[in-house]
């Protein structure tokens, strides 16, 4: 009882040191990104995000096509992954026999453990050939009246990158939505069924709306993943710096341009422009993730979001 033991003091100092390392790292991260891109920030300011040329030789840089490619590939990914992962999550929480839940969830979550570069490899040699020979021509023949599905067919394209991203973000959206749906009180289901709802009606009108903000959070979390995904996209998107309406055309993303050019850059301005791209990417993902956390946290606190819980 006489004061704190020496062991306690050492213990606290050591732990504090470890804990301090985390904010310090973030400090370094933000500072280094800012310092590294100073040259480009001074030259272009915010106009960087609306410039459309990317010419390392003439040292003229603008990131609009990169931002466009990042947003479009991530949107394709979400358009495919959201219905699928929600379908799986709803099935597993509301309909599936109990013994099936763990194994299926486990299999899909294993997708999250596969390294990005392996997705890229599989994409190059399996996915893209199939897309190019059958899926893309089929899309052009059936949906060719839309501007997204016109023009010459390339294998490596925005759509190929979007599809591989969809597979990659699916496990994240699925597992978070599943957690959120599991957190919905059983009384919601019982009340709906008691009023004579079918099982589907109970799930769709009483359970899903209750978990809505958490599900949106899960989707945004997936968006954050899709925006920053690098290797698979770099290997499949075709790496061409232009804004095309057709999803069959190659594109470029912020992460891919860094991956391709950083180790080969020679001029200070080129490095600065690439670091500026990294800074923009970092800022976007922080915003997106903060939004997602906020929404998921609201459901965790038990606040229904779909009107009065129905």
């Amino acid at each position: 009882m006489e004061g704190r033991s020496a062991g306690d003091v050492i213990f606290k100092i050591a732990l504090t040191g470890a804990a301090l390392s985390v904010p310090t790292l973030l400090g370094f991260l933000v500072f280094e990104l800012w310092a590294g891109s100073r040259l480009a920030i001074a030259k272009y300011g915010l106009g960087f995000v609306t410039g459309t040329t990317w010419d390392p030789v003439a040292e003229d840089f603008g990131a609009l096509p990169l931002i466009f490619g990042t947003l479009v590939s991530a949107s394709i990914a979400l358009a495919i992954a959201v219905p699928l992962s929600l379908g799986v999550a709803i099935y597993l929480t509301e309909f599936s026999p109990k013994w099936l839940r763990q194994p299926v969830a486990f299999l899909i979550e294993l997708l999250a453990a596969i390294p990005s570069v392996v997705y890229g490899l599989w994409g190059i040699f399996v996915l893209v050939p199939v897309l190019k020979s059958t899926v893309f021509p089929f899309l052009r023949d059936t949906l060719g009246f839309l501007p997204f599905f016109q023009g010459p067919i390339y294998g490596n394209s925005m759509l190929a990158a979007g599809i591989i991203l969809a597979i990659m973000v699916m496990p994240y959206i699925m597992s978070v939505s599943r957690e959120v749906l599991n957190a919905v009180p059983a009384s919601q289901r019982e009340a709906a069924m008691g009023l004579g709802a079918t099982r589907w009606e109970a799930a769709w009108t009483a359970v899903v709306p209750y978990a809505r903000s958490g599900i949106i959070g899960a989707v945004i979390l997936g968006l954050g993943r899709a925006l920053g995904e690098t290797m698979a996209v770099t290997m499949l998107i075709g790496n061409r710096n232009e804004i095309a309406a057709s999803l069959f055309a190659p594109g470029y993303t912020m992460a891919a341009v860094i991956a391709n050019e950083f180790s080969e850059a020679t001029t200070d301005m080129h490095f600065a422009a690439l670091t500026y791209v990294a800074l923009v990417l970092f800022a976007v993902t922080v915003l997106v993730n903060a939004m997602a956390r906020l929404l998921i946290w609201r459901v965790g606190r038990g606040k229904p979001s779909g009107g009065q819980g129905a």
Binding site: V22, F106, G228
Partner: protein, 279 residues
């Protein structure tokens, strides 16, 4: 009555759509693992683990240099990242309401969402730009930066699962705080912390993006972390995007080895936690 029949049918149709979505969602995993085994397994033999790559155009050869490089780099990253991450996690559970813990937790979430390529850029400006050469150590630093926030979160979550009464009992018996924390709290959930660490190691072992311009990769056997060094994911990338069929064959085999390592680590980790905490 007609309406009731329709509603029942609608329910049935929607449930079959849900089942279809499960099948579609599970398919990629099976396709990817299947192709890896079919295209990769044939090239895996003893030489593959012990030999250096053959010159382009020649058959045979292995990826011993990349296996050594990955072991060294991930090992170093673990030596830096695990103690810091676990320490920070223990801090957050010991002083959960302190300003530092709240900040560390928030920052860890921010960093967990940061794309790994951005971490690579930071490791480049911090280390490679200052030393003026690529190095395996810069790669390790980038991987450690990815590990620390992950391990912090899992460690804290695991310690949270330990009943508070254990802590109270230990303190009441006159244990000093540090022993209560280490030999009661941490000891009790040690399997969970090990699991978190294994998952973090599995995750960074497959990372390519942060190594592209830090470790850079190399065609030679190297054990010096101050030099550019090879790694399994980098080898997959280089060989997959190269022009030769032999290279593609090696890319498939290397990817198979990589995925076996990563999946084994995650499987062990998951099974260990499930037994401990969910049954």
């Amino acid at each position: 009555m007609n309406r009731v029949v329709w509603r029942r049918w609608k329910s049935r149709i929607m449930v079959s759509l849900l089942i279809a979505s499960v099948l579609v969602a599970v398919a990629p995993l099976i396709l990817i693992l299947g192709t890896l085994i079919i295209r990769g397994a044939g090239s895996i033999n003893f030489d593959f683990f012990t030999r250096m790559p053959a010159p382009a155009g020649e058959a045979g050869g292995g990826v011993a240099h990349a296996i050594v490089g990955t072991l060294l780099m991930v090992g170093t990253a673990g030596l830096i990242g695990l103690p810091l991450g676990i320490g920070a996690g223990v801090f957050c559970s010991e002083f959960p309401r302190s300003k530092l813990a709240t900040t560390a937790r928030f920052v860890a979430d921010v960093m967990n969402g940061t794309p790994s390529i951005v971490i690579g850029v930071v490791a480049w400006t911090l280390i490679v730009a200052r030393q003026k050469h690529f190095s395996g150590f810069a790669g390790s630093a980038a991987l450690a930066m990815i590990m620390i926030p992950m391990v912090l979160r899992t460690t804290e979550e695991m310690i949270k699962l330990v009943p508070h009464s254990l802590r109270e009992a230990a303190l009441a018996l006159g244990y000093p705080r540090w022993r209560t924390s280490l030999s009661v709290m941490v000891r009790t959930c040690l399997p969970g912390i090990v699991t978190g660490s294994l998952l973090a190691i599995a995750r960074v072992a497959g990372e390519t993006a942060p190594l592209l311009f830090t470790a850079l990769g190399s065609q030679f056997m190297g054990t010096n972390l101050r030099q550019p060094i090879a790694a399994l994911p980098l080898t997959v990338f280089t060989y997959a995007t190269g022009p030769y069929d032999d290279w593609h064959r090696i890319a498939w085999a290397t990817a198979l080895v990589l995925i076996m390592v990563v999946l084994c680590l995650s499987l062990i980790a998951r099974l260990a936690t499930r037994q401990r905490f969910h049954d």
